[in-house]
Amino acid sequence: MDNPYSENASDFIGGSFQIPPTLSAKYQHGSSPSRSIKVRNLSRGGICIEDNISFPVGTSLKLFLNVKEKKMEALGEVTWNIQEGDLYVHGIKFSFLNPEAQEWFNTFVMDWAASYLAENLDFSSLTAPAQVERRLFARLKIPLRIEVGFNADTMLLQTHIYDISEGGLCLISNFELKKDQDVFLKLWISDEKFIPLIGTIKYCVKKTYQKRQVNFHGVEFQKNENVSKVVKYLESKRAELDAVELTLDEIISQTNFPELP
């Protein structure tokens, strides 16, 4: 059965979560004054510390864990150590932690890990299919410059769009805008000319784009007279597109595929 206590160096070293570089612990030997030692990492089953003194494998230690306002006492055992230059890195597993403390520490580590990971996990493969059919119009990929603000007078953000249709556009930004937030837009269709628009954020998805983690925002245009300018602009752009024409009549006549509506 699974064992909650990690005994392997790689459980800690090079692990997935970075902890604050300043995190340290106090080490006390007998009655001598305590001193600070650096904590490299922690997991649900133990901690990893570095020190200039080597603790042999099997050494038992008393551990006092202070996290936020909580104070817990645990017993630990050195399960591995390796030398890195002048330093020794030790993996210490909790050999005893009372159930209440164990549960609390477990939740703390899971919460801390979740906080660290929240921005990094990519779910776009699952959510993308839902977005594909969100629009009623064909999209054109044109990286137009756009300014975004929360009122008509002050534009807070300058960025560019990913694509656009008659119904809305997708804008890319480092910032996350809230779903259902109304936004005022200046869509620059040339260096001198922009179309003022009002839109509503319909979705926000984190994606890796041009090697950066960014937010893709789906913005639906609110109906006003300026949307017709977007329609005209897109008509002109579509007219410039190269075209491929494919005739399917021959295939259809030889198969049972229904005719196109």
């Binding site: 699974d2 790689s10 692990g15 649900r44 779910f123 984190k206």
Partner: protein
């Protein structure tokens, strides 16, 4: 790390190769843990995988399957957990709960842990989160369930408790995982935001801060006859299915020639 994470993606299984990889991974991991016995197809499949509302989630790093889990939505054939916790599930249904169950959960220990004790390793936790967030939102929003159940080995109780699952079934022997011990846990979606936000802001941020919208799997995928035959009719995974489960499959796939023990099942109403 971000570079590594950016290559990892969660997807629904929608192709034969996806399902095969997922079923094989579950088999390998269950076999290692003693949750199943060896079988010639080297896959772990249940009758619930054949249901049109069952969504199989796969976590990939390029072409390597890192983990998988299936979400089964309560239906006329019930949930797998009922085999051991029948009364408890009935009680929840009587309370008006709409249930789902996480099943066939496996993380690829060959890739992830390199021999380290499972589920307690940071990378495993990360993969678990990566799978569980879409499962949570799928159950809650796409399938409009009120609860997500899971039968787990009691050694994992603390992990699930930290994710707000509550135990609702005592420790029992779970027949379908080679009689290993299990407990029944469920995540009640009611007021989950309020409970989570104050106590565990990190979990709130990850799981609830950015809701996911997904289509129902039945809008994206439906078994075709060839694949259904390959996974269900040509192998003996339906052998242990109950007659009403087989009857239900025959009813929803009337043209597939649903078979049990090599015998075609006529369409039945249950």
């Amino acid at each position: 790390m971000t570079k590594e994470l950016s290559k990892e993606r969660v997807e629904f299984a929608t192709k034969k190769e996806h399902f095969e990889a997922a079923f094989k991974l579950v088999y390998r991991e269950y076999l290692k843990k003693g949750y199943c016995s060896s079988n010639p197809s080297e896959m772990r499949i249940t009758v619930y995988s054949a249901l049109p509302d069952t969504a199989a989630f796969c976590l990939w790093r390029q072409n390597t399957l890192l983990g998988t889990a299936s979400l089964i939505i309560d239906s006329p054939v019930g949930l797998p957990i009922e085999s051991t916790y029948s009364n408890e599930i009935k009680t929840l249904r009587l309370q008006g709960r709409k249930l789902s169950e996480v099943s066939l959960l496996a993380l690829n220990s060959d890739v992830i842990s390199k021999g380290i004790k499972p589920l307690y390793f940071a990378e495993r936790l990360r993969h678990l989160y990566h799978l569980f967030k879409p499962i949570f939102w799928y159950a809650r929003k796409s399938a409009e369930c009120t609860d997500m159940c899971i039968a787990i080995n009691p050694v994992h109780k603390m992990l699930y408790s930290s994710l707000y699952f509550e135990q609702f079934g005592e420790e029992r022997v779970y027949e379908s995982v080679n009689k290993n011990p299990s407990i029944a846990m469920r995540l009640n979606f009611d007021q989950i935001e309020e409970r989570c936000q104050k106590r565990t802001p990190g979990l709130y941020k990850l799981f609830l801060g950015n809701p996911l919208e997904m289509k129902k799997i039945s809008e994206i995928f439906r078994w075709n006859e060839d694949d259904f035959n390959y996974f269900f009719n040509e192998k003996d995974f339906l052998t242990k299915a109950k007659p009403e489960q087989i009857g239900y499959l025959a009813q929803i796939y009337p043209n597939f020639g649903v078979k049990q023990n090599g015998q075609s099942i006529l369409r039945k109403c249950i």
